[in-house]
């Protein structure tokens, strides 16, 4: 069965190469049949890679330990449900997953491309096939998931215990899919450059796939944070670890892109800049893949030690050279349709948005590579950890929240101070009020207060917009609930954006609360002993120890009180895997909208004492609530709306007024 998998890989390579060649030949020699045929080949790639995937999964199901990958990532004791996770747990398997995902996305993108993009589609197809070919070639020549061992081991090594958690069913797939989906808007941009159609043909598809890639990667990152919080057991959710940063940098660049692409869609501006930006975003994604696989910096994430890193670095370098080379070749044909009229305008605010996001991405990149720089120049290893990123990126994030509160109220082209004042008066008043209330009630760490005040400014601005709009619809006879929803439906990009901004506010609340007002204690308790943390009383009752074939499970029983009020009995658990010399914990998290009580079980000592780390993290729940809201907002923004005729003129365009 594994042979079938490898043969399918070879077949996929052939089909992708054919699609690449046929689309280029078809468009150069103007042969429609070749173009048609290349599209069919593209649609075929996910099928063939699906066969490959199925055969690897099949090898896991049949416990075929002769396949090296299966032996390395599973064993007889492994719960069958984790086969899905084991599939992408290691280097080779994850490459197959990525290739399969990319093939599916490519087929969908080519199939659904709208009429406007038809002219550039052959080139788009060619580029995306090149990316797909890269991954297949790496598998075929360097990292074969189907390579066999010389013998058949009686049992495998088993799956990494940290991966046996529901979060692992979805966090890595989303993250990997998110990263590779950057190839789609990139391919549309390259298609535009290659075909010489340097107008706005690629913008519609670029925007849609950009938002999709952004939403998927963002969800993957949030899921990773949630998983780290719930399973790794240090009470935090983000460590500015190089591998985390590897996924974060592309996401930042893509956030910048999906904002500035709006300007091109609306006014035909920033043509050059958007092309450069999507190239940078894709390069970050490639850089991320480089860091994840045998990267040069140590990380808690180490993805199965591999030496494949250099291949991805070459891939990134080659892509950058080619893309920017093409960009400068076409430079003169990239003039924008409009020009910036005023420095106070929506367009200019998007430029500031881009500046902030790219600076944060740059700072993060700088922090990731600095250890190498230091090594090369000083011969000294330096760690760049959380405190660096928090201090340097913190103010930039605050500036972004501020911008989020102001920019949506800036009109296109130019703004007047009067209008701006009118739009911002209430949000600013609300934020001052919130700041005052916080300080009076004892919350007085300056950055926390500033952050909370800015968040309230953003939120009140959005709510006010929504209410104003619903109110005027109400005046025409709609009742409020329907008006609120119809308003959303009438301008989906705008209101989808508002929903996403609200989710960012929720994220910011959680991050601010837990960063500035978290409490942490390490205790060791005898049975029936209690300890007080942050207003809670935690009483240790007893522990149950269960010996399984590959691990020892110790479940502690604790009771939580607030004052005299009994809040519940909880069972934090700690599993120790002797073969990995690693423990995985299931911390107890008692979540309320105000704060999380977080109990991490440590070891059980010989004299009967149990060690616990207890944390109180304010407002963290809101970060996880933000996730689905972010997805909802992205969905609303992407939902197709009746198209307006695209008029390129310097006359102002009215907002679509629909009943």
């Amino acid at each position: 069965m594994a042979d079938l998998g490898f043969v399918s890989l070879l077949l996929a390579m052939a089909i992708a190469s054919y699609s690449f060649a046929a689309s280029l030949l078809g468009v150069w020699k103007n042969i429609p049949q070749l173009l048609e045929s290349s599209r069919h080949a593209t649609y075929l790639t996910p099928v063939v890679l699906g066969v490959s995937t199925a055969s690897l999964v099949g090898a896991f199901v049949t416990r075929d330990f002769e396949v090296a990958y299966v032996a390395a990532h599973s064993n007889l004791a492994m719960d069958p449900q984790y086969i899905w996770v084991a599939f992408y747990a290691g280097n080779e398997g994850s490459l197959l997953f990525i290739a399969f995902a990319l093939a599916i996305l490519a087929a969908i993108a080519i199939f659904l491309a709208n009429r406007g993009a038809q002219a550039i589609l052959p080139y788009t197809n060619a580029v995306i096939m090149v990316v797909l070919l890269f991954f297949i070639a790496v598998m075929v020549f360097l990292a074969n998931p189907f390579s066999r061992l010389d013998f058949i081991p009686p049992d495998g090594q088993g799956i990494n215990p940290l991966l046996t958690h529901p979060g692992m069913f979805i966090h890595p797939p989303m993250l990997m899919t998110g990263l590779i989906s950057f190839a789609v808007p990139f391919s549309f941009a390259m298609g535009a450059l290659l075909s010489g159609k340097t107008g706005d043909e690629w913008v519609d598809q670029g925007r849609i796939w950009g938002i999709l890639a952004w939403a998927v990667l963002g969800t993957g990152l949030l899921l990773g944070a949630w998983w780290a919080y719930t399973i790794i057991g240090w009470g935090g959710y983000w460590g500015w670890d190089p591998v985390e940063n590897a996924g974060f940098m592309p996401w930042l660049a893509m956030t910048a892109f999906i904002h500035s692409i709006m300007v091109q869609k609306r006014r035909g501006m920033f043509r050059m800049w958007n092309l450069a930006l999507i190239i940078i975003a894709f390069a970050f994604a490639q850089f991320g893949m480089f860091i994840n696989r045998g990267g040069p910096v140590p990380s808690v994430h180490s993805f199965g030690q591999s030496t494949l890193g250099w291949v991805f670095l070459v891939f990134m370098g080659g892509t950058l050279l080619f893309s920017f080379g093409l960009f400068f070749l076409r430079y003169n044909s990239l003039k924008s349709a409009q020009n910036l009229e005023s420095a106070i305008s929506r367009e200019a605010s998007f430029l500031i948005n881009n500046l902030l996001f790219l600076t944060i991405a740059f700072v993060t990149l700088w922090g990731v590579i600095y250890p190498i720089v230091s090594e090369l120049t000083q011969g000294e290893t330096i760690t760049v950890g959380q405190p660096f990123y928090n201090q340097v990126n913190g103010p930039l994030f605050l500036a972004l929240i501020f911008l989020m509160g102001v920019a949506p109220f800036l009109p296109w082209r130019h703004a007047s101070w009067t209008n701006l004042r009118r739009a911002l008066m209430i949000p600013v008043l609300v934020s001052i009020m919130v700041a005052g209330l916080l300080v009076i009630s004892g919350v007085n760490k300056p950055y926390a207060v500033l952050a909370f005040a800015l968040c309230s400014m953003v939120a009140s601005g959005i709510i006010r917009e929504w209410l104003l709009g619903a109110h005027s619809r109400h005046k025409r006879g709609e009742n409020y609930p329907i008006a609120l929803i119809r308003l959303l439906a009438s301008n989906r990009p705008r209101y989808g954006g508002y929903i996403v901004h609200l989710s960012v506010v929720l994220l910011a609340l959680g991050i601010t609360g837990s960063s500035f007002y978290g409490i942490q204690t390490d205790v060791s308790l005898y049975p029936s002993e209690t300890t007080n943390v942050g207003g809670y009383t935690v009483k240790y009752i007893t522990s149950h120890v269960l010996q399984k074939s590959d691990r020892t499970e110790s479940t502690a029983e604790v009771q939580v009180f607030r004052g005299d009020q009994f809040l519940g009995t909880y069972y934090p658990r700690r599993d120790f895997y002797p073969s990995f010399n690693m423990a995985s914990t299931r911390a107890t998290i008692r979540s309320t909208p105000v704060e999380d009580l977080y109990i991490i079980p440590g070891e059980l000592m010989d004299d009967g004492r149990a060690v616990f780390r207890i944390l109180v993290n304010p407002l963290v729940m809101w970060m996880w609530v933000a996730g689905p809201i972010l997805l909802l907002g992205a969905t609303v923004a992407l939902w197709p709306q009746r198209l307006q005729p695209h008029i390129q003129s310097s006359w102002p365009r009215k907002e679509p007024m629909t009943t």
């Binding site: 200019a348 950890g385 201090q391 103010p395 130019h414 209008n419 942490q520």
Partner: protein
């Protein structure tokens, strides 16, 4: 078809650009304020991180724990790491605090033993000052590029709007005025877009006739 229009021709072109220039200058000033705000906030954050919180010794110890990297774990602080060495280091931190050593002395103690790699953030001295300086410098470069871009774009815009020529040369100024007032109409439009009653156009807001006749 003859159109009757009542428009106040702007008396002086420079007055128009005077308004634009003032607006632009305010914005550019604001943009330039971004950099010192960022640098000051950054400096404040850094100063804050070194300040010993006025709480109990345990909180200070936890702060120090979070500033030291476990020498044998990949990028985990001794606060997070569960290995024996990390535990020993945590105990040593608390012992030393109890003996009255300061945060800097304790950090230096571990640096002497394991090298600067044991610090969670690079020291703010010597060669490593570079890592702290580069972000504000990069931000400054970004702001400068942004400002220059905005200036260039606006120059292009003004040049383009000047070069659109119609049959009669005197119409250029008039068209610029019309363009400006349409912009104001657009603002009012956006402000009123929630409501469905459009403002009644005043005489001077009427645009030029579409059929090309003056």
């Amino acid at each position: 078809m003859k159109c009757t229009l009542a428009v106040n021709l702007p008396g002086d072109k420079s007055k128009l650009s005077g308004v634009e220039t003032r607006r632009g200058n305010i914005t550019l000033t604001l943009l330039l304020l971004l950099l010192p705000s960022y640098t000051l906030t950054l400096a404040g954050c850094i100063a804050n991180s070194n300040a010993i919180p006025p709480e109990n010794l345990e909180a200070i110890a936890q702060g120090i724990d979070k500033s030291l990297i476990c020498p044998i774990c990949p990028s985990e602080t001794i606060d997070q790491a569960q290995v024996e060495l990390a535990k020993q280091m945590r105990i040593m931190v608390r012992e030393k605090l109890g003996q009255g050593e300061s945060r800097d002395e304790i950090l230096q103690f571990f640096v002497d033993r394991y090298g600067p790699v044991v610090l969670a953030e690079p020291p703010k001295s010597g060669f490593n000052i570079l890592i702290w300086l580069i972000p504000p410098i990069a931000f400054l470069v970004g702001i400068i590029v942004l400002v220059m871009t905005i200036l260039a774009m606006r120059r292009n815009h003004l040049r383009n709007s000047q070069s659109t020529s119609l049959a009669t040369p005197g119409l250029e100024q008039y068209l610029a005025q019309v363009d400006r007032e349409i912009g104001q109409l657009a603002l009012r439009d956006i402000h009123n877009w929630h409501s469905y009653s459009s403002p009644k156009p005043k005489a001077q807001d009427v645009g030029p006739c579409m059929d090309g006749a003056e």
